[in-house]
Symmetry: C2
Subunit: 424 residues, 2 copies
Amino acid sequence: MNIPRTSFPRVVIIGGGFAGVALAKKLSKQEVQVVLLDKHNYHTFQPLLYQVSTGGLEPDSIAYPIRKILKDFPNFYFRLASVEEINTDQNKVITNIGDLKFDYLVVASGSKTNFFGNSEIEKYSMAMKTIPQSLNLRSLILENFEEALLTSDLNERNALMNFVIVGGGPTGVELAGALAEIKKGILPKDYPDLDTRLAQIHIVQSGDCILKGMSEKASQKAEDFLEKLGVNIWKNVRVTNYDGKTVTTDTDLTFETATVVWAAGVKGATIKGLDSTDFVTRGNRILVNEYNQIKNFQHIFAIGDIACMVTEAHPFGFPMMAQPAIQQGKQLGDNLLRIIEEKPLKPFVYKDKGAMATIGRNKAVVDLKNVKFQGVFAWYVWMFVHLFFLIGFRNRMVVFVNWVYNYIRFDREARLIIRPFKRN
Amino acid sequence: MNIPRTSFPRVVIIGGGFAGVALAKKLSKQEVQVVLLDKHNYHTFQPLLYQVSTGGLEPDSIAYPIRKILKDFPNFYFRLASVEEINTDQNKVITNIGDLKFDYLVVASGSKTNFFGNSEIEKYSMAMKTIPQSLNLRSLILENFEEALLTSDLNERNALMNFVIVGGGPTGVELAGALAEIKKGILPKDYPDLDTRLAQIHIVQSGDCILKGMSEKASQKAEDFLEKLGVNIWKNVRVTNYDGKTVTTDTDLTFETATVVWAAGVKGATIKGLDSTDFVTRGNRILVNEYNQIKNFQHIFAIGDIACMVTEAHPFGFPMMAQPAIQQGKQLGDNLLRIIEEKPLKPFVYKDKGAMATIGRNKAVVDLKNVKFQGVFAWYVWMFVHLFFLIGFRNRMVVFVNWVYNYIRFDREARLIIRPFKRN
């Protein structure tokens, strides 16, 4: 890869998610050369992907060009590349567009959907970790409704209008809520000849509560909200397979459905050459010390979802969310400058800012450190926080316009099948 | 197709463009059943497609769900379908989702890119008539820049940064202007290691002026604007081929380029069964009388781009633009009601509202009936008119936010490669 060598040490960052971008920003205008590699040319604001899937937001308003984030930083290089391997002996990253030497390497490759080895589920169900995946889901939902109009077979129509979401975490809950609002607000207007009652939304949850990481109160209230919206929640049920038609579970329960959204878990996106069992741990994450260093290395780090930093409060690592990623990115930026200046490193301390999830219009749950609340005010807090963390003034404005419009009009206008999914 | 038969006569409209939508709106709440068929579930505001291709607008803000346009109209049916054939003997439309009988049929299938039978050009060049095509072009432009960074072969880099637009009509001119602004405003910031001067934008025009349908003054001024922006205009040059690498012309001129945008012409999108040489004329359009009736038929009509209505002022039919389409749609709506009420039909009279094109920031040309002007004021008029004709309040707001942002910040933030084009 033709990136000029300068007298500055070269930091290669793999991944332009929350962690990688926070780190790169921290290093901007410092005496280091930063090379950021990502297979997309944009940063994705993942917490709002479910709104893309359900037509509430356009994809472009939750994406931000990576080159623009760091356009005023003279020592910053971005390359659109897929990393294929890391050669730790030669301090080299091997990509589809050539090799790249590094002085410091930061793996911020994030996480990917975990199908727990079930290839049928992987083949037939929908994931929602990237913008193209979210757009595929948007197309599929709308194509299902169009198809439901055409069939005279009631079972088939049922399956087309049945939505099974596997996993009751924030993604599953937020998507279920949005689908329930589509059922209530859009379906009767857009498809007056379809019987809305056929549209069923199911959350299948292997554990005994939804929003497991949050407080009991939040979990209970989210369940109430979802039930009010008509979502069916199946707890203590584990999905065992989906063959494109029928979802089977470890109980007698089965679902006939054309749409399964797999939100049951993620795992670290490890890279060949840095996947030793020495440090790859539970959930395919890379064990790091309190400086985000990977075992056996002084100059190779992992941050964000891919990193598993074990602390007393978090024996299995921090939750795979934006906050730990952003905080680790910033902290590692400071620490890299300390290494270069030969100063001692500072250990990472996670500031838990809480968690939140939205279920629908005026319905959200918020757990902060000292206060937990649910309902309308929580919903406003949720929106404010998401607007605040969204990158880019234009994106904020466009998202804001959409939200105000959707709120006033009970609408979601981006119900567009731009690229059909089924015909692909 | 399972659409219930009622006592109302059934009007089947093929195509949800300007003409089809204007007609359907006119017939809403009348005593007719309307079935609109389109292969997309949205209406596309084609005049702004070039802004999608150049990252200035998100695709979703120029698309509008067809079902929503007519959601309060009880006798309106939409079906997502590709029409395969029309059987005029049996008054039947044959589609990929089944057959449909009609009492009245309106063909509003619009136009498609005319490659004049050159299959190599069709294979290798980019068209810009639909949202997916515009997104492909957006991806290609950005992928070219990313690739240009990687190559050490100067010829290849040159080709990747060279853009050839064939056709100097509004589409070609507007796209060229937008690309010139990217060259000036975005390229130096996003790709500091690329030599911006290599980025060349060419318009190749077979005739002796650009914007042929407009006034001489507009054409001349547009040319001045483009030249100021650094666009190369080649007049009286006809492109003869493009093999994916080299554009050849009927002169000595050739271009080495990775990107050819074909904006050299459109032709009517005729449908099998309604393609008799009795009435299919110049440019593959269907000859209609002053009531938009197709020859030999009382109950089959064509409106918009596909229709060729010959008048003294327009011996080759009206220009293939939004205005004639909208006006014909409205007029035919009235006439269909007259037919049903057994009243005499009213002939269509085209109200020429003029034409306009934008070249870039503060640069547009406007020809109205009695006044022609160019420059900043024309640019404001252009924006106002386009906002006004855009369907949907949310779309208008989002486009407005983007335009204000782009204007103030000299920016285009939707420079996202959501679906890579080259890897497909």
